[in-house]
Protein backbone atom coordinates (compact mmCIF):
# COMPACT_ATOMS: atom_id res chain seq x y z
CA UNK A 1 0.00 0.00 0.00
CA UNK A 2 2.94 2.26 0.54
CA UNK A 3 3.58 2.41 -3.15
CA UNK A 4 -0.04 3.35 -3.83
CA UNK A 5 0.06 6.13 -1.30
CA UNK A 6 2.76 7.92 -3.20
CA UNK A 7 2.29 6.93 -6.81
CA UNK A 8 0.33 8.74 -9.52
CA UNK A 9 -2.93 7.23 -10.67
CA UNK A 10 -1.36 5.41 -13.62
CA UNK A 11 1.23 3.90 -11.37
CA UNK A 12 -1.58 2.56 -9.28
CA UNK A 13 -3.19 1.08 -12.33
CA UNK A 14 0.12 -0.32 -13.47
CA UNK A 15 0.35 -2.11 -10.17
CA UNK A 16 -2.77 -3.94 -11.28
CA UNK A 17 -1.35 -4.64 -14.71
CA UNK A 18 -3.20 -1.91 -16.63
CA UNK A 19 -1.47 0.93 -18.39
CA UNK A 20 -3.09 4.35 -18.19
CA UNK A 21 -3.63 4.32 -21.93
CA UNK A 22 -5.39 0.98 -21.76
CA UNK A 23 -7.39 2.18 -18.84
CA UNK A 24 -8.66 5.25 -20.67
CA UNK A 25 -9.50 3.18 -23.70
CA UNK A 26 -11.46 0.85 -21.53
CA UNK A 27 -13.34 3.74 -19.95
CA UNK A 28 -14.25 4.93 -23.38
CA UNK A 29 -15.90 1.64 -24.20
CA UNK A 30 -17.14 1.04 -20.69
CA UNK A 31 -15.49 -2.32 -20.70
CA UNK A 32 -15.47 -4.37 -17.60
CA UNK A 33 -12.25 -6.07 -16.73
CA UNK A 34 -10.97 -5.00 -13.38
CA UNK A 35 -12.27 -3.80 -10.06
CA UNK A 36 -10.29 -1.48 -7.89
CA UNK A 37 -10.77 -1.89 -4.20
CA UNK A 38 -12.42 1.05 -2.55
CA UNK A 39 -9.93 0.66 0.25
CA UNK A 40 -7.41 2.24 -2.10
CA UNK A 41 -9.51 5.39 -2.46
CA UNK A 42 -7.70 7.61 0.04
CA UNK A 43 -4.33 6.70 -1.41
CA UNK A 44 -5.62 7.35 -4.93
CA UNK A 45 -6.93 10.68 -3.75
CA UNK A 46 -3.58 11.59 -2.37
CA UNK A 47 -1.94 10.65 -5.60
CA UNK A 48 -4.43 12.36 -7.86
CA UNK A 49 -4.49 15.60 -5.95
CA UNK A 50 -0.88 16.17 -6.84
CA UNK A 51 -1.38 16.50 -10.53
CA UNK A 52 -4.63 15.37 -12.11
CA UNK A 53 -7.14 17.97 -13.16
CA UNK A 54 -10.44 17.46 -11.41
CA UNK A 55 -13.67 18.29 -13.10
CA UNK A 56 -16.06 19.91 -10.65
CA UNK A 57 -19.44 18.20 -10.60
CA UNK A 58 -22.60 18.12 -8.56
CA UNK A 59 -24.68 15.02 -8.05
CA UNK A 60 -28.13 16.16 -7.00
CA UNK A 61 -30.96 13.89 -5.94
CA UNK A 62 -34.51 14.85 -6.77
CA UNK A 63 -37.45 12.60 -6.03
CA UNK A 64 -35.39 9.44 -6.07
CA UNK A 65 -34.94 6.16 -4.24
CA UNK A 66 -31.15 6.51 -4.51
CA UNK A 67 -31.21 3.36 -6.60
CA UNK A 68 -29.06 4.97 -9.28
CA UNK A 69 -26.49 5.88 -6.63
CA UNK A 70 -26.59 2.28 -5.48
CA UNK A 71 -26.12 1.26 -9.08
CA UNK A 72 -23.10 3.54 -9.37
CA UNK A 73 -21.58 1.79 -6.38
CA UNK A 74 -21.55 -1.33 -8.54
CA UNK A 75 -19.57 0.25 -11.34
CA UNK A 76 -16.78 -1.91 -12.61
CA UNK A 77 -13.93 0.02 -14.16
CA UNK A 78 -13.11 2.50 -12.83
CA UNK A 79 -14.74 1.87 -9.50
CA UNK A 80 -16.74 4.52 -7.75
CA UNK A 81 -13.84 5.90 -5.79
CA UNK A 82 -11.83 6.30 -8.96
CA UNK A 83 -14.52 8.29 -10.68
CA UNK A 84 -15.09 10.42 -7.67
CA UNK A 85 -11.45 11.12 -7.12
CA UNK A 86 -9.73 10.76 -10.45
CA UNK A 87 -12.19 12.07 -13.01
CA UNK A 88 -14.71 14.13 -11.15
CA UNK A 89 -14.59 16.28 -8.10
CA UNK A 90 -18.08 15.58 -6.88
CA UNK A 91 -18.53 18.55 -4.61
CA UNK A 92 -21.97 17.41 -3.56
CA UNK A 93 -23.24 13.86 -3.54
CA UNK A 94 -25.74 13.29 -0.75
CA UNK A 95 -25.20 9.60 -0.30
CA UNK A 96 -21.42 9.41 -0.24
CA UNK A 97 -20.10 12.88 0.56
CA UNK A 98 -18.25 13.49 3.79
CA UNK A 99 -19.59 17.00 4.23
CA UNK A 100 -22.86 17.54 6.05
CA UNK A 101 -25.23 20.31 6.99
CA UNK A 102 -24.27 23.88 6.16
CA UNK A 103 -20.90 22.86 4.74
CA UNK A 104 -22.60 20.58 2.24
CA UNK A 105 -25.06 23.27 1.17
CA UNK A 106 -22.21 25.72 0.87
CA UNK A 107 -20.46 23.32 -1.49
CA UNK A 108 -23.38 23.60 -3.89
CA UNK A 109 -23.36 27.38 -3.76
CA UNK A 110 -19.58 27.53 -4.17
CA UNK A 111 -19.62 25.16 -7.13
CA UNK A 112 -22.37 27.11 -8.85
CA UNK A 113 -20.53 30.37 -8.21
CA UNK A 114 -17.28 28.99 -9.61
CA UNK A 115 -19.03 27.71 -12.76
CA UNK A 116 -17.65 25.23 -15.33
CA UNK A 117 -19.14 22.19 -13.69
CA UNK A 118 -21.13 19.16 -14.71
CA UNK A 119 -24.47 18.41 -13.14
CA UNK A 120 -25.63 14.86 -12.61
CA UNK A 121 -29.25 14.67 -11.59
CA UNK A 122 -30.86 11.57 -10.16
CA UNK A 123 -34.59 11.27 -9.58
CA UNK A 124 -37.69 13.11 -10.70
CA UNK A 125 -38.22 16.84 -10.50
CA UNK A 126 -41.00 17.19 -7.94
CA UNK A 127 -43.55 19.74 -9.08
CA UNK A 128 -46.53 18.73 -6.91
CA UNK A 129 -47.92 21.14 -4.33
CA UNK A 130 -46.02 23.94 -6.01
CA UNK A 131 -42.75 22.07 -5.59
CA UNK A 132 -43.22 21.39 -1.89
CA UNK A 133 -43.25 17.63 -2.44
CA UNK A 134 -39.46 17.79 -2.21
CA UNK A 135 -37.69 20.09 0.22
CA UNK A 136 -33.95 20.04 0.91
CA UNK A 137 -32.72 22.29 3.67
CA UNK A 138 -35.88 24.37 3.32
CA UNK A 139 -35.41 24.85 -0.42
CA UNK A 140 -37.63 23.34 -3.05
CA UNK A 141 -35.88 20.60 -4.99
CA UNK A 142 -36.97 22.16 -8.26
CA UNK A 143 -35.47 25.52 -7.33
CA UNK A 144 -32.14 23.92 -6.46
CA UNK A 145 -32.15 22.15 -9.81
CA UNK A 146 -33.07 25.31 -11.69
CA UNK A 147 -30.19 27.22 -10.16
CA UNK A 148 -27.67 24.41 -10.57
CA UNK A 149 -28.81 23.65 -14.11
CA UNK A 150 -28.57 27.24 -15.28
CA UNK A 151 -24.90 27.41 -14.41
CA UNK A 152 -23.88 23.93 -15.49
CA UNK A 153 -22.04 23.17 -18.74
CA UNK A 154 -24.13 20.07 -19.27
CA UNK A 155 -26.48 17.83 -17.35
CA UNK A 156 -26.61 14.08 -17.11
CA UNK A 157 -30.14 12.99 -16.26
CA UNK A 158 -29.48 9.57 -14.76
CA UNK A 159 -32.22 7.00 -14.38
CA UNK A 160 -35.78 6.80 -15.64
CA UNK A 161 -37.00 9.34 -13.05
CA UNK A 162 -34.63 12.03 -14.26
CA UNK A 163 -35.47 11.19 -17.87
CA UNK A 164 -39.25 11.63 -17.75
CA UNK A 165 -40.32 11.23 -14.12
CA UNK A 166 -39.98 7.44 -14.12
CA UNK A 167 -42.25 5.51 -11.81
CA UNK A 168 -43.02 8.66 -9.85
CA UNK A 169 -44.59 10.04 -13.01
CA UNK A 170 -46.85 6.97 -13.32
CA UNK A 171 -50.58 7.55 -13.11
CA UNK A 172 -51.94 9.33 -11.08
CA UNK A 173 -48.65 11.08 -10.22
CA UNK A 174 -49.83 12.92 -7.08
CA UNK A 175 -46.33 14.24 -6.29
CA UNK A 176 -46.02 15.78 -9.72
CA UNK A 177 -42.78 14.05 -10.69
CA UNK A 178 -41.47 15.03 -14.14
CA UNK A 179 -38.21 14.67 -16.03
CA UNK A 180 -35.27 17.07 -15.98
CA UNK A 181 -35.59 18.10 -19.63
CA UNK A 182 -39.29 18.77 -19.26
CA UNK A 183 -38.67 20.89 -16.18
CA UNK A 184 -35.87 22.85 -17.83
CA UNK A 185 -38.17 23.51 -20.78
CA UNK A 186 -40.71 24.98 -18.38
CA UNK A 187 -38.19 27.34 -16.77
CA UNK A 188 -36.45 28.03 -20.09
CA UNK A 189 -33.01 26.80 -19.12
CA UNK A 190 -31.21 25.70 -22.28
CA UNK A 191 -28.31 23.72 -20.76
CA UNK A 192 -27.92 20.48 -22.78
CA UNK A 193 -29.29 17.39 -21.06
CA UNK A 194 -28.16 13.89 -21.91
CA UNK A 195 -30.56 11.23 -20.71
CA UNK A 196 -29.52 7.84 -19.39
CA UNK A 197 -32.55 5.57 -19.03
CA UNK A 198 -33.47 2.60 -16.84
CA UNK A 199 -34.42 2.02 -13.26
CA UNK A 200 -31.73 2.22 -12.03
CA UNK A 201 -29.45 3.53 -14.71
CA UNK A 202 -26.42 1.50 -15.68
CA UNK A 203 -23.25 2.76 -14.00
CA UNK A 204 -21.23 1.97 -17.12
CA UNK A 205 -23.37 4.41 -19.08
CA UNK A 206 -22.71 7.20 -16.59
CA UNK A 207 -19.00 6.50 -16.67
CA UNK A 208 -19.07 6.35 -20.45
CA UNK A 209 -20.65 9.79 -20.62
CA UNK A 210 -18.19 11.26 -18.12
CA UNK A 211 -15.31 9.77 -20.07
CA UNK A 212 -16.82 11.03 -23.30
CA UNK A 213 -17.08 14.49 -21.79
CA UNK A 214 -13.58 14.68 -20.42
CA UNK A 215 -11.54 12.72 -22.90
CA UNK A 216 -13.35 12.94 -26.22
CA UNK A 217 -15.04 16.31 -25.92
CA UNK A 218 -12.23 17.97 -23.99
CA UNK A 219 -14.58 19.56 -21.51
CA UNK A 220 -16.39 21.52 -24.23
CA UNK A 221 -20.21 21.30 -24.44
CA UNK A 222 -20.29 22.13 -28.16
CA UNK A 223 -17.72 19.45 -29.00
CA UNK A 224 -19.54 17.01 -26.74
CA UNK A 225 -22.82 17.50 -28.57
CA UNK A 226 -21.08 17.29 -31.91
CA UNK A 227 -18.94 14.21 -31.25
CA UNK A 228 -21.39 12.14 -29.25
CA UNK A 229 -23.84 10.15 -31.34
CA UNK A 230 -27.13 11.32 -29.88
CA UNK A 231 -30.62 10.19 -30.63
CA UNK A 232 -33.63 12.44 -30.18
CA UNK A 233 -36.85 11.02 -28.76
CA UNK A 234 -40.04 12.94 -28.22
CA UNK A 235 -42.79 12.35 -25.72
CA UNK A 236 -45.75 14.19 -24.31
CA UNK A 237 -45.43 15.18 -20.67
CA UNK A 238 -48.96 14.73 -19.36
CA UNK A 239 -48.26 16.57 -16.13
CA UNK A 240 -47.15 19.74 -17.89
CA UNK A 241 -49.23 18.98 -20.98
CA UNK A 242 -46.24 19.77 -23.18
CA UNK A 243 -44.17 18.01 -25.82
CA UNK A 244 -40.62 17.28 -24.73
CA UNK A 245 -37.65 16.31 -26.83
CA UNK A 246 -34.98 14.16 -25.15
CA UNK A 247 -31.38 13.50 -26.14
CA UNK A 248 -30.01 10.00 -25.58
CA UNK A 249 -26.64 8.48 -26.41
CA UNK A 250 -27.44 6.49 -29.50
CA UNK A 251 -25.36 3.46 -28.62
CA UNK A 252 -27.34 3.03 -25.43
CA UNK A 253 -30.86 3.29 -26.84
CA UNK A 254 -30.30 2.46 -30.50
CA UNK A 255 -31.57 -1.11 -30.49
CA UNK A 256 -34.08 -3.14 -28.53
CA UNK A 257 -33.29 -5.59 -25.78
CA UNK A 258 -34.97 -8.18 -28.00
CA UNK A 259 -32.39 -7.50 -30.74
CA UNK A 260 -29.46 -8.45 -28.52
CA UNK A 261 -31.13 -10.93 -26.22
CA UNK A 262 -29.26 -14.17 -25.47
CA UNK A 263 -32.66 -15.94 -25.41
CA UNK A 264 -33.57 -14.68 -28.87
CA UNK A 265 -32.86 -18.05 -30.44
CA UNK A 266 -35.52 -19.66 -28.29
CA UNK A 267 -37.94 -16.93 -29.34
CA UNK A 268 -37.45 -17.68 -33.01
CA UNK A 269 -37.72 -21.41 -32.32
CA UNK A 270 -40.98 -20.83 -30.52
CA UNK A 271 -39.67 -22.14 -27.21
CA UNK A 272 -41.30 -20.24 -24.38
CA UNK A 273 -41.57 -20.17 -20.62
CA UNK A 274 -45.28 -20.31 -19.80
CA UNK A 275 -44.95 -20.30 -16.06
CA UNK A 276 -42.19 -19.62 -13.60
CA UNK A 277 -40.57 -22.57 -11.93
CA UNK A 278 -41.26 -24.80 -14.91
CA UNK A 279 -38.97 -27.09 -16.86
CA UNK A 280 -38.98 -24.57 -19.72
CA UNK A 281 -37.62 -21.91 -17.41
CA UNK A 282 -34.85 -24.22 -16.28
CA UNK A 283 -33.93 -24.69 -19.93
CA UNK A 284 -33.54 -20.95 -20.35
CA UNK A 285 -36.37 -20.55 -22.84
CA UNK A 286 -37.71 -17.19 -24.00
CA UNK A 287 -39.67 -15.12 -21.45
CA UNK A 288 -41.98 -13.54 -24.03
CA UNK A 289 -45.14 -15.22 -22.74
CA UNK A 290 -44.48 -14.23 -19.15
CA UNK A 291 -44.52 -10.57 -20.09
CA UNK A 292 -41.03 -9.74 -21.35
CA UNK A 293 -41.06 -6.17 -22.66
CA UNK A 294 -37.74 -6.61 -24.46
CA UNK A 295 -39.29 -6.26 -27.93
CA UNK A 296 -40.33 -2.67 -27.27
CA UNK A 297 -37.59 -1.54 -24.90
CA UNK A 298 -34.69 0.31 -26.48
CA UNK A 299 -31.58 -0.18 -24.35
CA UNK A 300 -28.43 -2.21 -24.71
CA UNK A 301 -28.72 -3.98 -21.34
CA UNK A 302 -27.83 -7.38 -22.90
CA UNK A 303 -24.53 -5.92 -24.09
CA UNK A 304 -23.16 -4.10 -21.05
CA UNK A 305 -25.15 -6.17 -18.56
CA UNK A 306 -25.19 -5.31 -14.87
CA UNK A 307 -23.42 -5.88 -11.59
CA UNK A 308 -19.92 -5.82 -13.01
CA UNK A 309 -21.24 -7.38 -16.20
CA UNK A 310 -22.05 -10.60 -14.40
CA UNK A 311 -25.67 -10.81 -15.44
CA UNK A 312 -28.82 -8.82 -16.15
CA UNK A 313 -32.57 -9.20 -15.69
CA UNK A 314 -33.37 -11.55 -18.55
CA UNK A 315 -30.19 -13.54 -18.04
CA UNK A 316 -31.18 -14.18 -14.46
CA UNK A 317 -34.64 -15.40 -15.46
CA UNK A 318 -36.77 -12.28 -15.04
CA UNK A 319 -38.68 -10.86 -18.00
CA UNK A 320 -37.70 -7.33 -18.97
CA UNK A 321 -40.17 -4.91 -17.41
CA UNK A 322 -39.30 -2.14 -19.84
CA UNK A 323 -37.75 0.33 -17.40
CA UNK A 324 -35.71 1.82 -20.23
CA UNK A 325 -38.81 3.13 -21.98
CA UNK A 326 -40.70 6.35 -21.55
CA UNK A 327 -43.53 6.51 -18.99
CA UNK A 328 -42.37 3.01 -18.37
CA UNK A 329 -44.67 1.91 -15.53
CA UNK A 330 -47.92 2.92 -17.22
CA UNK A 331 -46.68 1.54 -20.51
CA UNK A 332 -45.55 -1.82 -19.17
CA UNK A 333 -47.70 -2.80 -16.20
CA UNK A 334 -48.67 -5.51 -15.46
CA UNK A 335 -45.11 -6.70 -15.79
CA UNK A 336 -45.94 -10.38 -16.31
CA UNK A 337 -48.42 -9.78 -19.15
CA UNK A 338 -47.55 -9.41 -22.80
CA UNK A 339 -49.35 -6.10 -23.29
CA UNK A 340 -49.90 -3.34 -20.79
CA UNK A 341 -53.38 -2.93 -19.37
CA UNK A 342 -55.61 -0.10 -20.42
CA UNK A 343 -56.52 2.24 -17.58
CA UNK A 344 -60.30 2.46 -17.95
CA UNK A 345 -60.83 4.41 -14.74
CA UNK A 346 -63.68 4.03 -12.29
CA UNK A 347 -64.96 0.60 -11.38
CA UNK A 348 -63.67 -0.91 -14.64
CA UNK A 349 -60.11 -0.61 -13.39
CA UNK A 350 -57.32 -1.83 -15.62
CA UNK A 351 -58.24 -4.10 -18.50
CA UNK A 352 -56.06 -6.25 -20.72
CA UNK A 353 -56.38 -5.55 -24.46
CA UNK A 354 -56.96 -9.27 -25.05
CA UNK A 355 -60.03 -9.21 -22.79
CA UNK A 356 -61.38 -6.16 -24.61
CA UNK A 357 -60.91 -7.91 -27.95
CA UNK A 358 -62.59 -11.10 -26.78
CA UNK A 359 -65.56 -9.22 -25.31
CA UNK A 360 -66.01 -7.08 -28.42
CA UNK A 361 -65.75 -10.15 -30.67
CA UNK A 362 -68.14 -12.14 -28.48
CA UNK A 363 -70.72 -9.37 -28.31
CA UNK A 364 -70.52 -8.89 -32.08
CA UNK A 365 -70.99 -12.62 -32.72
CA UNK A 366 -73.95 -12.73 -30.35
CA UNK A 367 -75.45 -9.63 -31.95
CA UNK A 368 -75.16 -11.16 -35.42
CA UNK A 369 -76.84 -14.37 -34.29
CA UNK A 370 -79.64 -12.34 -32.70
CA UNK A 371 -79.94 -10.26 -35.84
CA UNK A 372 -80.03 -13.39 -37.97
CA UNK A 373 -82.88 -14.78 -35.88
CA UNK A 374 -84.63 -11.45 -36.36
CA UNK A 375 -84.11 -11.65 -40.11
CA UNK A 376 -85.62 -15.14 -40.08
CA UNK A 377 -88.57 -14.02 -37.97
CA UNK A 378 -89.13 -11.13 -40.37
CA UNK A 379 -89.30 -13.64 -43.22
CA UNK A 380 -86.40 -12.11 -45.08
CA UNK A 381 -84.32 -15.28 -45.39
CA UNK A 382 -84.32 -17.00 -48.78
CA UNK A 383 -85.18 -14.53 -51.48
CA UNK A 384 -84.80 -11.47 -49.31
CA UNK A 385 -87.48 -8.88 -48.66
CA UNK A 386 -89.61 -7.32 -51.33
CA UNK A 387 -87.86 -4.20 -52.57
CA UNK A 388 -89.66 -0.89 -52.31
CA UNK A 389 -91.21 0.49 -55.48
CA UNK A 390 -89.97 3.96 -54.75
CA UNK A 391 -87.47 5.48 -52.33
CA UNK A 392 -88.95 6.70 -49.04
CA UNK A 393 -87.55 10.13 -49.83
CA UNK A 394 -89.38 10.24 -53.14
CA UNK A 395 -92.59 8.95 -51.62
CA UNK A 396 -92.57 11.78 -49.10
CA UNK A 397 -91.79 14.29 -51.81
CA UNK A 398 -94.61 12.95 -53.95
CA UNK A 399 -96.97 13.19 -51.01
CA UNK A 400 -96.02 16.83 -50.71
CA UNK A 401 -96.88 17.37 -54.35
CA UNK A 402 -93.62 16.50 -56.08
CA UNK A 403 -91.29 18.91 -57.82
CA UNK A 404 -92.57 22.39 -58.44
Amino acid sequence: MAQEAHGAIYDLLAVRGVSRRDFMKYCGYVAATLGLSEAAAPQIAAAVEKGAKLKPALWLNGGSCTGCTESMAQVDTPDVATIVLELLSLNYFETIMAAAGEQAEKNIADTIAAGNYLLIYEGAVMMGEDGNTLLVNGHKGKDILEEAAAGAQAILAVGACAVDGGWIYAHPNPAGGIGVQSFLDSVKVATPVVNLPCCPTSPEWVVAMVVQWLLVAGDDPAVFLEKTALLEKKYHDNYRDADVSLLYPEYIVGSTIHDNCPRRGHFENGEFVTEFGSEEEAKGYCLYKVGCKGPQTYTQCPVTRWNRSVSWCVNSGAPCIGCGGLNWVDNNAPFFKRLSSIQMGGSLGNVQPGSVGAVVGGVAAAALVAHGLGMKAAGRIGDGPPIEEMKAYDRKRMAKGGDK
Binding site: N269, F272, L339, G361, G372, P385, Y393
Partner: protein, 210 residues
Protein backbone atom coordinates in the same frame (compact mmCIF):
# COMPACT_ATOMS: atom_id res chain seq x y z
CA UNK B 1 -82.10 -7.42 -53.05
CA UNK B 2 -80.88 -10.93 -53.08
CA UNK B 3 -83.76 -12.03 -55.21
CA UNK B 4 -81.61 -10.61 -58.00
CA UNK B 5 -79.60 -12.78 -60.31
CA UNK B 6 -75.85 -12.83 -59.70
CA UNK B 7 -73.86 -12.52 -62.88
CA UNK B 8 -70.15 -12.66 -63.49
CA UNK B 9 -70.28 -9.04 -64.60
CA UNK B 10 -70.82 -8.11 -60.95
CA UNK B 11 -67.46 -9.57 -60.01
CA UNK B 12 -65.12 -10.15 -62.97
CA UNK B 13 -62.54 -12.91 -62.58
CA UNK B 14 -59.75 -10.48 -61.64
CA UNK B 15 -61.75 -9.31 -58.63
CA UNK B 16 -62.69 -12.85 -57.70
CA UNK B 17 -58.95 -13.48 -57.50
CA UNK B 18 -58.15 -10.33 -55.52
CA UNK B 19 -60.95 -11.25 -53.13
CA UNK B 20 -59.46 -14.72 -52.66
CA UNK B 21 -56.04 -13.21 -52.03
CA UNK B 22 -57.54 -10.83 -49.49
CA UNK B 23 -59.29 -13.65 -47.67
CA UNK B 24 -56.26 -15.93 -47.54
CA UNK B 25 -53.95 -13.11 -46.47
CA UNK B 26 -56.39 -11.93 -43.82
CA UNK B 27 -56.66 -15.41 -42.35
CA UNK B 28 -52.87 -15.78 -42.39
CA UNK B 29 -52.38 -12.34 -40.87
CA UNK B 30 -54.97 -12.83 -38.14
CA UNK B 31 -53.74 -16.30 -37.27
CA UNK B 32 -50.05 -15.41 -37.23
CA UNK B 33 -50.90 -12.13 -35.50
CA UNK B 34 -52.72 -13.93 -32.71
CA UNK B 35 -49.77 -16.27 -32.42
CA UNK B 36 -47.28 -13.42 -32.21
CA UNK B 37 -49.54 -11.71 -29.68
CA UNK B 38 -49.50 -14.81 -27.52
CA UNK B 39 -47.86 -18.02 -28.75
CA UNK B 40 -50.53 -20.60 -27.90
CA UNK B 41 -48.40 -23.55 -28.96
CA UNK B 42 -44.65 -24.06 -29.30
CA UNK B 43 -42.32 -24.13 -32.24
CA UNK B 44 -43.97 -21.70 -34.63
CA UNK B 45 -42.69 -18.18 -33.87
CA UNK B 46 -40.20 -17.94 -36.71
CA UNK B 47 -42.77 -19.26 -39.19
CA UNK B 48 -45.53 -17.06 -37.74
CA UNK B 49 -43.47 -13.92 -38.17
CA UNK B 50 -42.41 -14.92 -41.67
CA UNK B 51 -46.04 -15.62 -42.54
CA UNK B 52 -47.10 -12.30 -41.10
CA UNK B 53 -44.60 -10.33 -43.17
CA UNK B 54 -45.20 -12.20 -46.42
CA UNK B 55 -48.99 -11.98 -46.13
CA UNK B 56 -48.67 -8.30 -45.26
CA UNK B 57 -46.69 -7.50 -48.39
CA UNK B 58 -49.00 -9.58 -50.55
CA UNK B 59 -52.13 -7.93 -49.20
CA UNK B 60 -50.67 -4.44 -49.62
CA UNK B 61 -49.72 -5.13 -53.24
CA UNK B 62 -53.09 -6.76 -53.81
CA UNK B 63 -54.96 -3.82 -52.32
CA UNK B 64 -52.99 -1.28 -54.30
CA UNK B 65 -53.60 -3.29 -57.45
CA UNK B 66 -57.32 -3.52 -56.64
CA UNK B 67 -57.59 0.25 -56.19
CA UNK B 68 -55.80 0.95 -59.47
CA UNK B 69 -57.80 -1.72 -61.29
CA UNK B 70 -61.01 0.02 -60.25
CA UNK B 71 -60.17 2.69 -62.80
CA UNK B 72 -59.69 0.23 -65.67
CA UNK B 73 -61.81 -2.87 -65.15
CA UNK B 74 -65.46 -2.76 -66.12
CA UNK B 75 -68.06 -4.19 -63.75
CA UNK B 76 -71.81 -4.11 -63.39
CA UNK B 77 -73.03 -1.18 -61.36
CA UNK B 78 -76.49 -2.59 -60.78
CA UNK B 79 -77.71 -5.71 -59.07
CA UNK B 80 -78.65 -8.52 -61.38
CA UNK B 81 -77.46 -6.69 -64.46
CA UNK B 82 -74.98 -7.54 -67.19
CA UNK B 83 -74.55 -3.92 -68.13
CA UNK B 84 -71.01 -2.81 -67.23
CA UNK B 85 -69.26 0.45 -66.54
CA UNK B 86 -65.85 1.37 -65.10
CA UNK B 87 -65.61 -0.16 -61.64
CA UNK B 88 -64.78 3.12 -59.92
CA UNK B 89 -68.39 4.21 -60.58
CA UNK B 90 -69.38 1.69 -57.91
CA UNK B 91 -67.25 3.52 -55.39
CA UNK B 92 -68.41 7.04 -56.05
CA UNK B 93 -71.80 8.37 -54.91
CA UNK B 94 -74.55 6.90 -57.08
CA UNK B 95 -77.99 8.20 -57.93
CA UNK B 96 -79.67 5.00 -56.75
CA UNK B 97 -78.20 5.32 -53.26
CA UNK B 98 -79.14 8.93 -52.81
CA UNK B 99 -81.23 9.53 -49.66
CA UNK B 100 -81.00 5.82 -48.81
CA UNK B 101 -78.39 5.72 -46.05
CA UNK B 102 -80.75 6.10 -43.09
CA UNK B 103 -83.38 3.98 -44.81
CA UNK B 104 -80.79 1.18 -45.00
CA UNK B 105 -79.99 1.57 -41.32
CA UNK B 106 -83.72 1.50 -40.55
CA UNK B 107 -84.12 -1.63 -42.63
CA UNK B 108 -81.42 -3.50 -40.72
CA UNK B 109 -82.85 -2.31 -37.40
CA UNK B 110 -86.25 -3.77 -38.45
CA UNK B 111 -87.78 -0.29 -38.50
CA UNK B 112 -89.10 -0.81 -42.00
CA UNK B 113 -90.32 -3.86 -43.83
CA UNK B 114 -89.38 -3.42 -47.46
CA UNK B 115 -85.83 -3.64 -48.72
CA UNK B 116 -84.33 -0.41 -49.97
CA UNK B 117 -83.56 0.49 -53.54
CA UNK B 118 -79.81 0.54 -54.03
CA UNK B 119 -77.01 0.28 -56.56
CA UNK B 120 -74.83 -2.85 -56.61
CA UNK B 121 -73.35 -1.71 -53.33
CA UNK B 122 -75.76 -0.05 -50.91
CA UNK B 123 -74.62 3.12 -49.20
CA UNK B 124 -73.82 1.44 -45.88
CA UNK B 125 -72.01 -1.38 -47.65
CA UNK B 126 -70.05 0.97 -49.85
CA UNK B 127 -68.85 3.08 -46.92
CA UNK B 128 -67.67 0.07 -44.96
CA UNK B 129 -65.90 -1.46 -47.98
CA UNK B 130 -64.22 1.84 -48.75
CA UNK B 131 -63.14 2.20 -45.13
CA UNK B 132 -61.10 -1.00 -45.37
CA UNK B 133 -58.74 0.67 -47.85
CA UNK B 134 -57.33 3.37 -45.52
CA UNK B 135 -57.70 0.97 -42.59
CA UNK B 136 -55.46 -1.60 -44.27
CA UNK B 137 -52.82 0.99 -45.04
CA UNK B 138 -53.07 2.33 -41.49
CA UNK B 139 -52.76 -1.19 -40.16
CA UNK B 140 -49.62 -1.63 -42.23
CA UNK B 141 -48.31 1.67 -40.89
CA UNK B 142 -48.75 0.57 -37.28
CA UNK B 143 -47.12 -2.73 -38.17
CA UNK B 144 -44.09 -1.07 -39.76
CA UNK B 145 -43.82 1.16 -36.69
CA UNK B 146 -43.32 -2.03 -34.66
CA UNK B 147 -41.18 -3.91 -37.15
CA UNK B 148 -37.50 -3.76 -36.13
CA UNK B 149 -35.92 -2.77 -39.44
CA UNK B 150 -38.38 0.08 -40.06
CA UNK B 151 -39.36 1.19 -36.55
CA UNK B 152 -36.67 3.86 -36.40
CA UNK B 153 -37.53 5.43 -39.75
CA UNK B 154 -38.60 9.01 -39.13
CA UNK B 155 -41.96 8.43 -40.83
CA UNK B 156 -42.87 5.62 -38.43
CA UNK B 157 -41.07 7.07 -35.40
CA UNK B 158 -43.32 10.11 -35.73
CA UNK B 159 -46.39 7.95 -35.26
CA UNK B 160 -44.86 6.00 -32.38
CA UNK B 161 -44.13 9.24 -30.55
CA UNK B 162 -47.62 10.51 -31.36
CA UNK B 163 -49.34 7.56 -29.69
CA UNK B 164 -46.97 7.54 -26.70
CA UNK B 165 -44.50 4.77 -27.43
CA UNK B 166 -44.15 1.31 -28.97
CA UNK B 167 -46.38 -0.41 -26.39
CA UNK B 168 -49.34 1.79 -27.29
CA UNK B 169 -48.61 1.23 -30.96
CA UNK B 170 -48.67 -2.52 -30.33
CA UNK B 171 -52.04 -2.26 -28.60
CA UNK B 172 -53.43 -0.15 -31.44
CA UNK B 173 -52.16 -2.72 -33.95
CA UNK B 174 -53.85 -5.43 -31.90
CA UNK B 175 -57.18 -3.59 -31.63
CA UNK B 176 -57.17 -2.80 -35.32
CA UNK B 177 -56.99 -6.51 -36.00
CA UNK B 178 -60.27 -6.81 -34.11
CA UNK B 179 -61.72 -4.12 -36.34
CA UNK B 180 -60.87 -6.30 -39.34
CA UNK B 181 -62.28 -9.36 -37.62
CA UNK B 182 -65.52 -7.51 -36.87
CA UNK B 183 -65.68 -6.27 -40.44
CA UNK B 184 -65.21 -9.79 -41.76
CA UNK B 185 -67.88 -11.18 -39.44
CA UNK B 186 -70.45 -8.56 -40.41
CA UNK B 187 -69.43 -8.74 -44.07
CA UNK B 188 -69.80 -12.51 -44.26
CA UNK B 189 -73.08 -12.34 -42.36
CA UNK B 190 -74.73 -9.63 -44.43
CA UNK B 191 -73.51 -11.04 -47.72
CA UNK B 192 -74.97 -14.47 -47.06
CA UNK B 193 -77.94 -13.83 -44.80
CA UNK B 194 -80.53 -14.36 -47.52
CA UNK B 195 -78.82 -17.16 -49.43
CA UNK B 196 -75.36 -18.20 -50.59
CA UNK B 197 -75.65 -16.88 -54.15
CA UNK B 198 -73.26 -13.97 -53.39
CA UNK B 199 -70.63 -16.43 -52.13
CA UNK B 200 -71.07 -18.60 -55.22
CA UNK B 201 -70.26 -15.71 -57.49
CA UNK B 202 -67.37 -14.19 -55.48
CA UNK B 203 -65.64 -17.46 -54.60
CA UNK B 204 -66.60 -19.93 -57.33
CA UNK B 205 -67.47 -17.42 -60.05
CA UNK B 206 -70.70 -19.38 -60.49
CA UNK B 207 -73.72 -17.47 -61.73
CA UNK B 208 -77.16 -17.88 -60.22
CA UNK B 209 -80.44 -16.87 -61.75
CA UNK B 210 -82.83 -15.48 -59.22
Amino acid sequence: MSSQAHYREAHPLVFVITHWINLICMIMLAFSGFYIHYPFFDGFMGVARGMHFVAMFVILINLTFRVIAAFFVKTATDLGSREVDTDIKNWLPQEKNKHQFFETVKYYLFLRKEGVISAKYGSLQKISYLATVPLTYLMAYTGFALYGPTADWGFFMWGTELVGGPMNMRIIHYFMMWVFILFTMVHAYLANIYNFAPSKIIFLWKETEH
